[in-house]
Symmetry: C2
């Protein structure tokens, strides 16, 4: 398995298991993440981005995961208390065992709709 994919999967398995502290050990302190709502800079901002999602997470199914020496691309589906099916895709750049850049993709529409209905 490629180095980047090994890191991406270790990170994925950690947050899937609800272990945010362990997941963050795979995130570089100066990570840059381009998420649907805009750019996040730094591990603190990234942790704040993941936290509310993990609070409502029920289960995760990995759909595909590939990588080479520096990049990995994964797609998964997830079930949350707010949205029944919330797939995500992450394209990460890995350096020295941590994710230094992430392009993070999910559909915000069902979350916006569910929050408006609450």
């Amino acid at each position: 398995m490629s180095l980047a994919l090994r890191t991406a999967l270790a990170y994925h398995e950690s947050w899937k298991a609800g272990d945010l502290d362990r997941a963050m050990t795979y995130i570089a302190g100066d990570i840059v993440c381009d998420a649907p709502a805009g750019r996040l800079t730094g591990a603190g901002a990234y942790r704040d981005f993941l936290t509310p999602y993990l609070r409502m997470l029920k289960s995760v199914t990995l759909l595909a995961a590939f990588g080479d020496d520096e990049k990995a691309l994964i797609m998964y589906d997830s079930a949350t208390t707010l949205v029944a099916s919330a797939p995500g895709a992450e394209c990460v750049t890995v350096r020295d065992g941590t994710i230094v850049y992430s392009r993070f993709l999910f559909d915000r529409a069902p979350f916006i709709a569910a929050r408006a209905a609450q």
Copy 2:
């Protein structure tokens, strides 16, 4: 390059070039596509799904593409007349040179907001 990735990239390059007819030659007649708004069944429904997006497409940048013998996963960013940055990810299953299943992910929120503002 893996067989599935070759097909996924040929399809991607075709629609990127605006050639929907050529792109559709890589789509199975009975394709099933799980898109953000729900399941699409059949090449006709898939073509109707792509058509309005391609009409507003200005440019596409491939971010990552990987695959094995039967699955490929790609992520790209795109610029459209409606939404400046509209990334997408497609996880496709390929059989006999055509895409028989696709999990298609993009963020609908900026499209909904832009249409509401029009």
